[in-house]
Symmetry: C2
Subunit: 128 residues, 2 copies
DNA sequence: CCGAATCCGTTCCGATACTG
DNA sequence: CAGTATCGGAACGGATTCGG
């Protein structure tokens, strides 16, 4: 398999990587994933655990993941409604790649912050 | 190291993974990365190879990557200006995680598309 | 050749109110 | 409890114009 999305010749490629990126492009998607990685959870529990998410964004994110076949939604007809979400087998295959990204963050995010400071300081100096 | 960003106890965590995600959150970021993975390239070459990118977005993406210390920008004072971009050592450490995500795409994107079709078809059926 | 600056339509997202 | 509906501001992103 080749990583190139455009062959050296300069021709077109049907690589849909760009489209696929949208699957995990939002921050909420990732956070939902890290919650469900440990097993099924109820809607309210997700909402409680994912700091700062609105019910609109949480629902929207879950719907999208369900549509993409990454998350399974299960409704129990109890008197107060109960809805549980869990990763599908397909969804579980995404855990590893996301874990790799997460580990990169843990290892290098400080360096990024330092780079930003250096870059911003540089801009302040008058070039004389 | 633990992947959990919120401990089971329910306490807060200073995990900045959300912020870090923004580094690679745009589609252009990823495409630029896959170009520079093979060595330094000129601005015009990047623009030519990355189908559909506007100069605004390309410049904006490159500036951001430069600020984050992932890409190095080199200006040659030639008569027509020449600017080359290349990954920094820090930037190169991101290649592997992104490759993992890319490989996931190659392997499972078809399944996602099928899941979408199934989901959408389901919605068309009147629940009766 | 490389890029900044502006305008402007579209999309995103939070806040709020309402439902089974 | 688990959503849906609507509104409005903010941010994104494309097209265009101008500058070194």
């Amino acid at each position: 398999m080749n990583i190139r999305h455009v062959p050296p010749g300069g021709g077109e490629s049907p690589c849909h990587y760009r489209r696929a990126l949208e699957i995990v492009s939002t921050k909420w998607t990732v956070l939902v994933f890290y919650e469900l990685e440990f097993g099924k959870k109820r809607y309210s529990e997700l909402k409680r655990r994912i700091e700062g998410v609105t019910q609109k964004m949480l629902t929207q994110t879950l719907r999208q993941l369900e549509r993409d076949g990454l998350v399974k939604r299960e409704v129990y007809p109890t008197v107060p409604p109960t809805v549980e979400y869990e990763l599908t087998p397909l969804g579980m295959t995404l855990i590893e790649p996301m874990r790799a990204l997460h580990q990169w963050t843990e290892a290098h995010y400080d360096a990024v912050l330092r780079a930003r400071e250096a870059y911003d300081d540089e801009g302040l100096r008058s070039p004389d």
